[in-house]
Amino acid sequence: MTLTLIDAPAGLAPVVRDDFSAPFFEASAEGRLLLRWSPSSDAWSEPAARFCSVTQAADLEWRESTGAGRLVTWTVKPGRAKDDQPAVATVIGIVELDEGPWLSLLLPQADAADLAVDAAVRVAWSQPEGSEVLPVGLLV
């Protein structure tokens, strides 16, 4: 399967992997979003979690998310004009995935007029230069 990448938006900074995050970025390179899941609590946690966000259990495993969620909150940074380049606004949202965890995502194609709490979002992928493939959000 060929992963379709969104052109890296200006506001998205590169991230490199460490040992802990290697499975996450192996999956992101294939367009799959991994979260952390606790078999003892059946609860999901964010990708960076070391312990279950509900029970503090230490039995987290990587598990694939649907990548679908809803917008919890967001901000729009107006950006600054540089030389002949006009200011480019950046939209950053906190998205609650259907499984429960929150992800902070750049929403590169979002029109500010379409932003609303509970707006449907799906995870897409982009790869800044020198970076792993990173999740971004698209309003559905």
Binding site: G11, L12, A13, P14, V15, V16, R17, D18, F20, S21, F24, W44, S45, E46, P47, A48, S53, V54, V72, T73, W74, T75, V76, K77, P78, T90, I92, G93, I94, E96, G100, P101, W102, L103, S104, L105, L106, A112, V117, S131, L134, P135, V136
Partner: protein, 388 residues
Amino acid sequence: MTTRAAIAGLGITEMGKVYGRSATDFAVDAISRAAADAGLSLADIDGLYVNPGIKNDTDLRLQSTLGMRNTRVLATIQGFGSSAGQMVQMAAMAIEAGMAEVVACVYADAPLTEGKRAGAAYPGQARAMKGVGSLPFAAGLKAAPERYAVATRRHMHAYGTTSEQLGAVAVAARQWAQLNPAAQMREPMTLEDHQSSRMIADPLRLLDCCLVSNGAVAVIVTSAERAATLAQPPVHVWGWGQGHPGYVNRRDSEFGLVTGAAQSGPEALKMAGVGVDEIDVRELYDCFTFTTLVTLEDYGFCAKGEGGEFVASGAIAPGGSHPTNTGGGELSSFYMWGMTPLSEAVIQARGQGGERQVPQHDLVMVSGNGGVLDFHSTLILSPHQKGK
């Protein structure tokens, strides 16, 4: 636990766009001023807590810079914006335990560089973009304004809080600052000025954001008995609390809705043995207008979700029913993390506020807030010794 500790000295350096001085230099200056204010010499100080700011360029080695010998308690304290309250708490406990007699607590920072804009002083967390923990930073939630912006919007959606209500916090702070000769920003400000100020991170505008200052503030904590013999009216520590909610990034998180103040405030009031309705003056950490609003709610000065209406009523402004941030706060006076509200609390409790002095100042509540509403400390201060 009861406490018999009191704040006996206050030192505030020149503040704001003061260039060419290091954080350590400011810290030495502030401690020297605080000791002199108390009528003490540096040799009287046998305890030191140092809180470095965002530049993180001073620490417990300040001891040797000050020439201190045989120091009995000494540490670098880092609770971000909650540090000032934490330092006073630890100093009071050290004094209660007989570990030290006179403890200096200092915050110092020098993030401003001449010729560079204030925003450049806080470019965001200097954190390597490595691993999944970096994803929020990579997405653009780097610096405080955008991180507080998402918290603020959540509150707005949940409770109908408006930008104009946030503006009421900024206008009230400026009205107080106009009465404070030491405040950095004293020009009149209207709600229209707030609404027309440029957007920094929607919904937060420039005038929702605190100042950036170079400088230092120190307080001297000692026993109530010792304080009674010194140069200034003692400011007694009646109660304290901390609350660090440890937000999880998942469904049901209270991020943006409830802060550590909801735990810290009631604990401090309980220790002091007073109710929130008995508080005369509020000195609240106001890195952003929203921080004031949500802290007022979480301390119980108004109901949850009614902070917007409360501040818009004029309650916190000069002449209002709930005088708050009477020096102008971090929004209009100066930004020294938790030392901004603490220093004004000491001034108010002493009755030394001049034109801005609140006539009734028997109980002053002080907040400290760090991270993005992540870390919270509270103090209850009074010019009267508890139980006397």
